[in-house]
Symmetry: C2
């Protein structure tokens, strides 16, 4: 065995006997220390997470839990995010997601400010818990009945987020204050709805994956059984139709039977995360196979170029197959995060590179665009087109805000970025598999690797073996599916062509050994699937893992974005865009506007929306069309 | 003066001194007796309206008013249409719209069944009114405060519909039972919110146009003043933002200032109906001009080919300019009806044929498609595309239902069809203007005309003068804007070419004179505006006023609708489709499917959805695109 010292103390940690192809490394074993991702992780830690605490306080979300704690606290319970009276019973979960992020951050490195804020929040959560273990401010303060409104109440959803925060604090810090709270709250829920309780499932899946992780932490199989029970109960219509039909809350078909992703996209993806977790713990290949089939369906028929999913605003749903409007894309930030969480579980389960490819696509183009350059403003929806002239910008129409009335996305983004290091590589007895490229190091007792790269702007990735056990092991580097030409060079050896998948080299490595993966990064012209009606006759531009867009901020004064056409007679070319960040590469797109030829700049989609309120589009109509029209 | 006997007792009847270019004729003066529209009106009277009464009873809507009447009535108040708990405070209005339809129907011809049902409903409404005149079952039964929730409560909206029903019964039947009720209810509202009351406007405009009509009935200017006051109060943010922003309820900009249609489409169009009514009564050219500008904006940038409007499901809103997705078109039936109502007011005000053109387009292709061939099932939304394979059909996704939880559309359709005869022609001292073509007669004391036509399937319209005063008067026949070639023949004279607009012939007519308008009806290929991203690279087909679509029910087994391409090398041809109704004309469309050439039938859009649950599309991709792609 190599890498004996791997802690495996990650956000997802299959049991040693679980049927997974890969094993995660521990959060403490890998460090992203610079470059593209280093910047993002630093901004998250230094700006986004502190901003989150401010907002949890300012909006009353934290005060809701204080009101549940009773004695001495004042203020009005905030059950609604705006003046419409829409009831939001799930706000506690924002505190838990924020605490989860802080747990992982403090595990990376201490920070007095974050620690003080977290201690305050944990204290409030502890006091909000009732004597019998029940913990939910909405029900406690407003006097509702426990577990009476499983469809909309989000009680188990909130509990799941509490458990995930508790697991983070346990694994990253060995701090079990939240775990004690969570275990008592789960015991309360288990008495009510577990195997000896009533049949019930939450309208919003989430608790399932949290319960599996709780078994992984505690060894107590009852949590896994509770999760499996809820998976089995789902899909038999026990929640009812509601306003959006049973599909909305994943109660339309049994988890093992549904062949397609459907309904509310975050609900579908969280449910499938829990299903994979149960499947690998129980070596349940049927259940795993059902999730994989749905994932295939999603990627084939219902995923945006940016990796995002969710085509409908009305019910935050996956639309029908190939229903992918760029302007009215819902593409919720939380759905992209859920997709990364699911992709990771499927990658661990199967070892197939396509899941890592998907994680890459959705992180760069589905998750990151939600955050402003400042780190303190957030997109809830992430459209692929915004018209220059609009007459009705309202919440949810694709503008970043410091917070949302329904603020599920910002703290979800925080915990995603705080755990991102864990997604970079895996390691086990056979070797190390590098899935995502960043300036990073991997250090455990008997080995140390460094990864140096200018990725995603540059395609050269250098892996250096700093320490190694004196035994053979395999180094696997992912060659992304989008890459048409790549070479791998080991030491002074020849550059060997490698193709999409994992390029693996096995040997008895020596300290100082270098492996260089060179990925060619030409600008790629993307044609839409012919069944995607909404972008027929358009092209998009990619380079490496990055999806590009045209923003009106880059157009000469008076050139309407809506009149720009791609001129296929010209040539695209990469070009530096230091104004958008260190190392950023843009694209010069040959274009025609009302018959005049010009060059139009395309920028990485994740950088859009930071320069005013103009238009943007990922898909650009081809000029040929206009000609054809004449 | 000719046509002295015109009653003008129509649903919209500008005061004699109002500044309108045209004057409506009375409901009793015109009869549609056969042909295309005769069938529709008969189905509405014989099937749809009786079905409506059944549903008002079965769903509890009528019982709501019985509960408000108190003593002796039982049952639960129905405040919510489904299990989601969404509150629907406006259900009373469905009873009023149904009563309005019955009023006009009984004016056309008595019917014992309809009369008995209406008497029952009127009795219930009368008993539901409180002593002080207030009448709203939602507030009365559930114990709410009057006029306390103007944003969502719909109290004035319901009152407006009551007034319109009362006006119908007064004008069509001289029956003032409802008028007495309505006047007392309006007096109550006027005390609370009129010039000497609090400042308040309803979140859903509707009452404005009703109040103007009430002044026209009673001569009491206070109702007009109340309407004008509410128009002036609107647009200053007094309702607040709410969930969808102040645009949603037309409170974002003053009525005189808003340059574009915006927000909830029915709210915008009902508001503009009231604005035109106030404008013509007060000869307020600024106000009329503001509505005309918005109408121009709507037709230029935000109207579907079918005449429908409303691109967003989430907030039932006009989208941004050129945001016109065919699959997710909202295109609410009520918005199409509201567009006819507004177009009619603008036509009367200006005499411009384009408003009659729009009424034609939206009646054939926006309003009629909502009704099933059986007359008892209704679309709420009217998409221009439904995919063959779907995974999430839920309410509002474009399937006809016998009724909806929120059932605003079905009774609105009933009153629209019950008043349709009134939209056929206008008449005044100068002559008669025929705007819509149907088998119809116009009879007043000193003149009688008959119109005979196979329209819309056939383009020949024969107007015969049966009786006429012995003085010159002008006969104007609308040449639709879509028509590229038309002739007019008077008696034995030559066929003279006429162009879009009104073809007018003035003379001293004699009994037996015949005027023949011949409209050529070639199949027309329609290209989308280049800014409409959602249907780029597609074509649509029209013939006469009819928009066509391809339905998968017409495709050979195994041919996927989504793979059909228009083959521009072939020729389109009209073809009889008796299977879809008497005289119906379909189109043979040259097509290519996966490289094979074939002919694919297109059917009138208003006939779709009556042959199973398959796919449909109005816009068909051009084959050229696929070639371009290769």
């Amino acid at each position: 065995m190599i890498a004996d010292g791997i802690a495996h103390e990650a956000c997802v940690r299959p049991s040693p006997g679980a049927g997974t192809a890969l094993r995660p490394v521990g959060a403490a074993d890998v460090t992203v220390h610079g470059g593209f991702w280093g910047d993002r992780l630093r901004i998250n830690r230094e700006r986004t997470i502190p901003h989150g605490f401010d907002r949890l306080r300012a909006t009353g979300t934290l005060n809701n839990l204080q009101l549940a704690a009773g004695a001495g606290h004042t203020g009005t319970y905030r059950a609604s995010g705006d003046t419409s009276g829409a009831v939001l019973p799930f706000l506690d979960s924002d505190v838990y997601k924020w605490l989860e992020a802080v747990g992982w951050e403090l595990g990376r490195d201490d920070d007095a400010g974050l620690r003080a804020a977290a201690d305050e929040a944990i204290g409030i959560v502890a006091r909000a818990q009732r004597q019998d273990g029940y913990l939910n401010s909405f029900v406690t303060v407003l006097g509702g009945r426990q577990y009476a409104d499983l469809a909309w109440g989000h009680e188990l959803y909130c509990l799941g987020h509490l458990v995930q925060a508790a697991v983070a604090w346990h694994r990253a810090l060995g701090d079990d204050r939240l775990l004690d709270i969570a275990l008592r709250a789960v015991a309360h829920a288990d008495r009510a709805l577990g195997p000896s309780g009533a049949d019930g499932i939450d309208g919003h899946p989430e608790i399932e994956m949290a319960l599996v992780e709780l078994t992984r932490v505690t060894g107590d199989e009852s949590h896994l059984a509770f999760a499996a029970r809820m998976l089995d109960l789902r899909g038999h219509g026990i929640i009812g139709e509601g306003r959006f039909g049973s599909t909305y809350w994943q109660d339309h078909l049994p988890v093992r039977e549904a062949a397609e992703v459907a309904g509310h996209s975050v609900r579908q993806l969280y449910l499938d995360c829990g299903a994979v977790d149960v499947a690998v713990e129980r070596d349940d290949k049927d259940l795993l196979g059902a999730v994989r089939r749905r994932w295939d369906d999603m990627v084939r028929t219902r995923r945006y170029l940016t990796g995002s999913v969710g085509s409908r605003h009305r019910d935050e749903a996956f639309g029908d197959p190939y229903e992918l409007p760029p302007d009215r894309a819902y593409a919720e930030t939380c759905a992209s995060i859920a997709e990364v969480m699911l992709g990771w579980r499927l990658l661990l389960a199967t070892g197939e590179s396509r899941y890592a490819d998907d994680i890459e696509r959705v992180m760069f183009n589905g998750v990151l665009p939600s955050l402003s350059r400042s780190g303190t403003e957030f997109f809830y929806v992430n459209p692929l087109q915004r018209r220059t002239h609009r007459s009705s910008d309202t919440a949810g129409d694709g503008r970043r805000a410091p917070w949302q009335a329904c603020a599920c996305c910002p703290p979800n983004l925080m915990r995603m970025l705080s755990t991102w290091e864990q997604y970079v590589l895996t390691g086990d007895g056979t070797g190390v598999q590098v899935h995502q490229y960043a300036d990073a190091s991997f250090r455990v007792s008997d080995m140390e690797l460094t990864i140096a790269t200018g990725y995603p702007w540059d395609g050269t990735i250098v892996v250096t073996v700093v320490r190694t056990p004196d035994r053979p092991w395999a180094l696997s580097l992912r060659v992304p599916g989008w890459c048409r030409s790549a070479t791998l060079t080991v030491g002074d050896g020849p550059a060997e062509a490698v193709t999409a998948g994992y390029a693996t080299r096995s040997r008895t490595w020596r300290a100082g050994d270098r492996v260089v993966l060179d990925l060619e990064l030409p600008v790629r012209l993307i044609e839409p699937h012919p069944r995607v009606d909404a972008v027929r006759g358009c092209v998009a531009f990619e380079r490496g893992p990055i999806v590009y867009c045209i923003e009106s901020a880059d157009l000469a004064n008076g050139v309407p974005l809506e009149d720009v056409r791609y001129d296929s007679d010209g040539a695209v070319a990469a070009t530096p865009r230091p104004d958008l960040g260190d190392g950023v590469v843009g694209i010069d797109v040959p274009a025609a506007v009302a018959g005049s030829r010009m060059t139009v700049p395309a920028i990485p989609y994740h950088t859009w929306g930071n320069r005013g309120d103009g238009g943007m589009r990922v898909w650009l109509p081809r000029e040929a069309l206009s000609a054809d029209r004449a």
